[in-house]
């Protein structure tokens, strides 16, 4: 559930953080005295004398500015005029001012070419990098000079919302407010509304509109009956019940799935990077899930907008708010970049954010002002770069959340309890039964020296070259955990207690956590020890190799390349492997050529190399031990006590014999003796393993990784990281012609001028964090988000207009503004501007709740109309139905077609949320398709699925032959037909036919249809029988069902 934060949720302070909107500043290194002197003596005087008259701010004031070029600031030279930058620092040949002075491009100054030495000085100056102390900030005048913002603000969509007086109309006192607007327009054109459609038509319409699936026959019958209980004699149906039906549908979870999908088009949402490799973004689906929940929970639209732009800044404690930021990072991005592309790729990414944000929330093509001022709309390039600067440091990251806090808490508690129980059981056993067993055993046993095991388990440190992690086990072994790398090298270092060593044993132990119980980490349980190296490291770090004379193993795979002898040859690949005894512990012993005498400061180092081309052939659970004699045969374990343990055993035994009882449990010897003995007890082993397994498994807390767009978090790994790709640049520059090599100053975040009141400077929405918010973030996006949704002073009115228009569009097939992503001058004008504004005001005044708007729309007469007749004379007046005088059938979208096929065939899997699927045959709703940009789902693409690269406000609805082939030949079509036939299969075909019509179309077949169907079956059954079909009756019904799914009536909703 999304929790709506309290209104005082923001511990943020509005401060005046940024420069006044419009400022840009260039940057250069501090000038040296020599540079300054050169400029002042050679350059500035010439500029003043020869150039300022036509190329300075004074000239501009006097209306004498030529070519838009200002030469009285450094920025002016860099920015240039109509012909581009005047200088390219460091490159005289590429500098317009030099060629102009040389009379090669322009002829400047026009009254006569300057002396050669002056031109040479300019050339030298440019070559020096054009050092210039005149760091004045260029005003936005250049970019803005051609745009009349005051006039721009007069455009209908940029004006304040009309406070529409929707009082009762004298002519239509009973009409719903929406209808009043519609009727007024109709009357002016001599049109009138069509009568309401039949209840069953309306039920089906509402189901598809809100849920994207058809009603089940039972549901159809239920509501049809209720609606038939007419409340008002003039109405064909009970309006009250109709309102209840809408409420019911708005509460259904399928509503969120349906409407989230509409939004995904606008948000160009996909789950892969696109471009070269099109890598998946496996944690991107949380954005889709956020959308579904947001629609279902009726998250206020202003918050819905804010979270997608800056949920991380505004609600950092809310995982849902973070998920929403997936919006900004949903665009395609190249995964293969060269150095020359780094910067332009980042500007492209900013452009994707700017363009998508602009059209999605504002219906404004701000993205069109990237290279120059917008051709149609009053948006300057400077506006564009100020908008882009908002996203300067926003990047894709992954963040981990506890999305199941209650379940996880339960898991923790359950685990703690289970572990405590197991430990208690173990302790109980150790303090009672184990002691008794030990006393009995010790009393019956004669201890002599031969029981002492000369293998000393080496306690030490084990490290992996590939970062494999090891758990140190009770028995002194190391268990590898996690995913095994392809190859690995283990380095083991120990300070042995033995002073004299003649053999080293490596045990590869079986373990239930390993594939096939191990002992290797490979999928087949094997390992291949390519090389065994032993050396001694002295106190100053000098490493000396210790030669190995021979090696033997408990088992080896062959006597050749997979023998233990091959582990000490020069080949790093060949070596000891153990297939044939997989699942069993193994030991290999390496015998030294002579005794190795060690002093206290020396360290024993063992290196195990696993480089076999077969992947993951390293050891899973390894233990090292040493022996001071060389007569030991390879064996695993060895149950005998060590010399120290033997000493304790002997002492305890003597006490037992002397006193008849064991020493008290605090005694050091009894503790050592028991520690050795317990391993012999199978009961102890069972209890110990249970405890250890619980400890290792942990509480099983489930955390979720979420793809977010934020600031200050680690970036997603990128192919070009090793080339030094910075992911973002600390400043966003104003680029001339969108070219990264033509920077013209740093752009500060700001809002499009035309959407700001002249008295506004933007400071109203600017925020910084307090200590409780997110200190790593710039809060630039939060400012944008607040401005976007501020209906009093910011862009909220436009945002509301754009959204209610989207709702209207999906209910009627066309928006009040027919270009839902373009409310600018190139877009269409609203057919009903007052209605649009009335809906927008309703939205804002009712807490931005979308469900209310749905209901307003769907309970209007305008919505309830029936289709026109073929020869309706009104068609001549308004063929496009712009004045909404009838209902036109609409082709369902790809998702609704497929979901309807699955629904009527009874195959739909209603599981909600979670990772999507690329399997075209999956049976979940189509919103759960994994959207991979290079592998778009074929059946979806046939029906105009978007390419998910740019924001799509309205899909096409094409009709193509390949679509027909899908109904005729696809596995989807056939499987649904067969399942539908199974669903209705009946001894009486007439009965089946009635049933199938009710399922597929929510109505009974007409007599003519029934007749045709019977004829079809009568023809097809013998045809199938002749082909040797064992079940011709059923299969002919499937043939029939297949065609019903292909009917126009199935995919066009009245």
């Amino acid at each position: 559930m999304i929790r709506f934060p309290a209104s005082d949720r923001l511990l943020l302070t509005a401060v005046f953080l940024f420069a006044i909107a419009g400022g840009i500043a260039g940057a250069q290194d501090p000038l040296s005295p020599e540079q300054l002197a050169f400029f002042e003596s050679e350059i500035r005087p010439v500029l003043i004398a020869e150039c300022y008259q036509c190329h300075s701010s004074d000239a501009a004031k006097d209306g004498k500015l030529r070519g838009g070029l200002l030469l009285d600031t450094r920025q002016g030279l860099l920015t240039g005029g109509d012909s581009g930058p005047a200088i390219s620092p460091g490159d005289p040949e590429d500098s317009l001012i030099i060629s102009a002075l040389n009379y090669e491009s322009f002829e400047m100054p026009p009254r006569g070419k300057l002396p050669d030495h002056v031109i040479a000085a300019f050339s030298k100056w440019v070559k020096m990098g054009a050092p210039d102390p005149r760091d004045g900030v260029i005003e936005a005048t250049h970019a803005a000079k051609e745009i009349d913002y005051a006039a721009g603000r007069q455009f209908w969509s940029l004006q304040p919302l009309l406070s529409v007086a929707n009082t009762e109309s004298p002519t239509h006192p009973d009409a719903n407010p929406i209808d009043r607007f519609v009727i007024e327009k109709q009357e002016r054109s001599g049109l009138r509304m069509s009568p309401p459609a039949k209840p069953r038509v309306l039920i089906r319409r509402a189901w598809f509109d809100l849920l994207g699936i058809p009603p089940e026959p039972g549901e159809m019958e239920h509501w049809q009956q209720l609606l038939g209980q007419t409340g008002n004699s003039q109405d064909l149906m009970n309006r009250l019940v109709w309102g209840q039906l809408i409420d019911h549908l708005l509460q259904r979870p399928e509503y969120g799935e349906r409407w989230a999908r509409h939004w995904m088009d606008v948000a160009r949402f996909a789950e892969s990077h696109g471009y070269e490799q099109d890598y998946d973004r496996p944690h991107a689906f949380h954005y889709r899930d956020f959308l579904i929940r947001a629609f279902n929970d009726d998250l206020p639209y202003n918050q819905f907008v804010q979270w997608q732009i800056a949920g991380d800044e505004l609600e950092p404690s809310q995982p849902e708010a973070w998920m929403a930021t997936g919006f900004l990072g949903a665009g395609a991005f190249p995964t293969q970049l060269t150095e020359t592309e780094f910067e332009s790729a980042r500007y492209d990414e900013l452009d994707d954010m700017v363009a998508t944000t602009g059209v999605t929330f504002l219906g404004l093509s701000i993205g069109c002002a990237r290279c120059h001022d917008h051709k149609f709309d009053p948006i300057s390039a400077l506006d564009y770069y100020r908008f882009a600067a908002t996203f300067t440091s926003a990047i894709r990251s992954e963040k981990t959340f506890d999305l199941e806090p209650e379940e996880n808490e339960q898991r923790r508690q359950e685990h703690t309890l289970a572990l405590a129980e197991a430990r208690q059981e173990l302790e109980q056993f150790e303090s009672t039964q184990l002691v008794t067993d030990f006393a009995t055993w010790l009393g019956d046993t004669t201890l002599d020296g031969s029981d002492v095991d000369s293998w000393e388990i080496l306690p030490g440190r084990l490290q992996s070259s590939e970062g494999s992690n090891f758990e140190v086990m009770e028995d002194g072994s190391f268990l590898a955990v996690g995913t095994a790398p392809q190859k690995d090298v283990y380095k083991f270092e120990a300070e042995p207690g033995l002073r004299r060593i003649q053999a080293i044993r490596v045990e590869a132990l079986a373990d239930s956590t390993l594939p096939k119980n191990g002992p290797g980490r490979a999928a087949n349980g094997n390992f291949a020890l390519g090389n065994f190296d032993l050396s001694v490291i002295d106190s100053v770090g000098l490493k000396k190799a210790v030669p190995i004379a021979s090696a033997r193993a408990t088992h080896q795979q062959n006597n050749d390349s997979l023998s233990i002898a091959a582990s000490v040859d020069t080949d790093l690949v060949s070596g000891w492997a153990v297939d044939g005894q997989i699942g069993q512990s193994q030991a290999g012993v390496f015998y030294l050529s002579g005794p190795l005498e060690l002093n206290e400061s020396q360290i024993l180092a063992v290196t195990l190399t696993f480089q076999h081309p077969n992947s993951q052939h390293s050891m899973g659970r390894v233990r090292f031990s040493a022996a001071s004699d060389d007569g030991r045969e390879p064996e695993v374990g060895g149950t005998g006590p060590s010399p120290v343990q033997m000493q304790s055993l002997e002492r305890v035994q003597s006490i037992l014999k002397a006193t008849g009882s064991l020493p008290p449990k605090e005694d050091a010897d009894i503790r050592i003796a028991l520690e050795w003995y317990r391993h012999r007890s199978s009961e102890w082993q069972v209890l110990y393993k249970k405890t250890a397994a619980l400890e290792q498994a942990g509480p099983g807390v489930t955390l979720a990784k979420v793809l977010v767009t934020s600031e200050g978090l680690p970036h997603l790994p990128h192919h070009a990281d090793d080339r030094g790709f910075p992911h973002f640049y600390p400043e966003t520059h104003l680029l001339r012609r969108g070219d990264v090599s033509q920077k013209a100053g740093i752009a500060q975040p700001g809002f499009p001028t035309v959407l700001l009141d002249e008295s506004e400077d933007g400071s109203r929405w600017r925020l910084v964090s307090t200590s409780r918010a997110n200190p790593d973030s710039s809060y630039r996006r939060a400012s944008l988000a607040l401005w976007l949704t501020d209906s009093s002073h910011g862009a909220g009115s436009l945002a509301a207009r754009v959204m209610v228009n989207r709702l209207w569009q999906h209910h009627f097939g066309k928006g009040i503004v027919a270009t839902p992503n373009d409310f600018g001058t190139a877009g269409e004008l609203p057919t009903h501007p007052e209605l649009l504004d009335w809906l927008a005001v309703r939205l804002i005044e009712n807490g931005w709740r979308l469900k209310l708007i749905h209901k307003e729309i769907m309970t209007s007469d305008t919505y309830l109309q029936s289709n026109r007749a073929a020869d309706d004379p009104r068609s001549a007046i308004d063929p496009e139905n712009r004045l909404l005088w009838h209902r036109a059938p609409r082709r369902l979208e790809a998702e609704a077609i497929r979901d309807a096929m699955l629904t009527v065939s009874g195959r739909l899997d209603c599981t909600m949320y979670g990772p999507g699927s690329l399997d075209p045959d999956m049976t979940r709703r189509s919103v759960y398709f994994f959207v991979k940009r290079s592998e778009l789902i074929p059946s979806m693409m046939l029906f105009d699925w978007p390419e998910h690269l740019v924001s799509i406000g309205q899909r096409q609805a094409t009709t193509t032959a390949p679509q027909a082939l899908l109904f005729m030949n696809s596995t989807l079509g056939r499987a649904c037909a067969v399942a539908l036939a199974d669903r209705v299969h009946h001894d009486d075909p007439a009965e089946s036919l009635v049933q199938v019509y009710q399922i597929a179309f929510g109505r009974d077949p007409t007599a003519a249809e029934l007749d045709l169907a019977k004829q079809f079956l009568a023809r097809t059954v013998p045809l199938r029988k002749d082909q040797g079909d064992p079940d011709p009756v059923h299969d002919a019904m499937a043939d029939l069902c297949q065609m019903l799914l292909g009917l126009n009536e199935f995919i066009y909703v009245d």
């Binding site: 293969q336 020359t340 290079s934 005729m968």
Partner: protein, 501 residues
């Protein structure tokens, strides 16, 4: 991959998104007056958008054939996409000076050379002469590398452009740029623009077909974005013939359904749809959809027939090199291309090679072996295609394009066997057939073949020329999308008249 689009018969009359706005505008006399825009634009002082419908009247059917802007020299295009970036100095751009410069640093010729010019900054070697011999071919005496013994026969049909250049030194942006004019994803490719501009001549085959490597070497970098319709309606995207398995989705009848049963099904469907249509007689889109099933039924036989090469006589197989182990796969694709254009397909693009490195012309290592291999795969098939088109009288109005996404550097890329790295500054393309003047060379690279030098040809120029040959004015072929009129050539493009006959 699959058939992504195909024959469009109609839009639904109710939503008519493809053409409704244009239709409406046309009915309104192409005036913005009714939209109330013209006056506003004048008041606002902003420039007036180009009328989106200017390129010709069009029925409800967005794939209906449309008259070109002016008389077309070419009716159809076959684009041999030399994927991976073929080396100009080893193929068609003979550089005797490079032989003399062999072993010298490129900085002696171009001081501005940076190690980041190519893809691998740490493998920059010295200038390297071509390992292939060049000799004069045809009447025009064009110097041609030994890579192309068969194509060399056809140089008098070809116009060479030696001064092509692009922006990106990286495969997929360069591929996108060559195909769409923009280095980013999301723009319509040349084939989509042409289909949008001219519609489809075929009623039962797709208008725009793409074939990729059938040898398991993958798709070109950027995958299907290379034949994407971008923001144009999806019907204009390329239909990718799957290189293995079923070339087009859903062409085979379901198991157990015989042709007779299906015919019965479609008759039944039509009867029921007719009943529905009677109740919705005002909706022309519904009638179109009824027709789409009949089209689909025909397509079931037309498409497999086109793809099936067994009906071609033996000498045609030989001409293309079908059956030759080194080039069989490409020969089949070239022959299929001819069969497709013969049946009305407007635009066919065949990719030579798969992804990058040794899987395509991307000769980072062993440029000699790499180019030898891919030249052998394509030389005879493409030569066969040119001969075949000519003998059928189709070459005169079929434009054949040989071009990749960029060129390669004249220096060696260091490695066991020297290769050549990417070079965005220069590439060679050739055009033949459909309105092209044969035996000419346009533009020049510098003496070592590093940078386009004389009469530089930007991709926009190449695209403008291709559209021009198809009878389309690149400045008038526009599409209004999210507030802007987009063109294949963005805001540039000069037709290269000297290559036009």
């Amino acid at each position: 991959m699959l058939i992504k689009s195909g024959i469009m018969t109609n839009t639904s009359a109710s939503s008519m998104p493809v053409s409704s706005r244009r239709d409406w505008l046309r009915r309104a006399g192409c005036g913005f007056g009714l939209l109330g825009l013209a006056s506003l634009l004048e008041e606002g002082g902003w420039s007036t958008p180009v009328c989106a419908d200017e390129f010709g009247a069009r029925s409800l059917d967005p794939l209906a054939p449309v008259a070109p802007h002016y008389e077309a020299k070419a009716k159809r295009i076959i684009w041999i996409f030399v994927n991976g970036g073929p080396s100009q100095v080893d193929t068609w751009d003979y550089k005797p000076a490079l032989e003399k410069a062999h072993g010298k640093s490129i900085r002696e010729y171009d001081a501005g050379f940076s190690n980041t010019t190519g893809f691998f900054r740490d493998a920059v070697g010295n200038l390297m002469k071509s390992p292939f011999e060049f000799r004069p071919r045809g009447e025009c005496g064009k110097m041609v590398s030994s890579l192309f013994p068969h194509l060399g026969e056809h140089v008098d049909k070809m116009a060479f452009i030696h001064s092509g250049f692009t922006e990106s030194n990286n495969h997929s942006p360069a591929l996108f740029a060559m195909n769409t004019g923009f280095a980013r994803m999301g723009y319509p490719c040349v084939g989509s623009w042409v289909t949008y501009g001219l519609g489809s001549e075929s009623r039962d085959l797709p208008a725009f077909v793409v074939m990729s490597d059938p040898k398991g070497r993958g798709l070109p970098k950027g995958h299907a974005a290379n034949w994407s319709a971008g923001f144009l309606p999806g019907v204009y995207q390329g239909t990718h013939l799957r290189p293995t398995g079923d070339a087009i989705d859903n062409l085979k009848l379901p198991v157990g359904v015989s042709p007779a049963t299906q015919r019965g099904q479609l008759d039944f469907l039509k009867q029921l749809n007719q009943l529905h249509l009677e109740r919705h007689a005002s909706e022309s889109g519904l009638a179109a959809r009824i027709e789409s099933f009949e089209l689909a039924f025909r397509m079931q036989s037309a498409a497999p027939e086109t793809i099936d090469l067994s009906n071609e006589p033996e000498h045609i197989h030989r001409l293309y090199g079908v059956g030759n182990p080194e080039c069989d796969h490409f020969a089949r694709q070239c022959l299929m291309a001819r069969r497709l254009v013969e049946r009305g397909v407007r635009f066919v693009q065949i990719y030579s090679g798969g992804m990058e490195n040794q899987r395509s012309w991307d000769g980072h290592s062993d440029i000699q072996g790499n180019h030898q291999q891919f030249a052998e795969e394509t030389d005879r098939p493409v030569a066969g295609l040119l001969s075949d088109l000519e003998q059928r009288g189709m070459l005169k109005d079929t434009l054949v394009i040989w071009c990749g996404e960029f060129g390669r550097l004249p220096i060696a890329q260091l490695g066991e066997k020297p290769g050549r790295d990417h070079n965005p500054h220069c590439f060679t393309a050739w055009l033949a057939g459909g309105g092209i003047k044969g035996g000419v060379s346009y533009g020049e690279s510098d003496e070592i073949g590093y940078k386009a030098m004389v009469d530089r040809v930007h991709l926009n120029d190449l695209h403008a020329t291709i559209l021009h040959l198809m009878g389309l004015d690149h400045q008038r072929l526009t599409y209004l999308y999210n507030g802007r009129n987009f063109r294949l050539t963005d805001v540039a493009g000069q037709i290269i008249h000297p290559v036009i006959g």
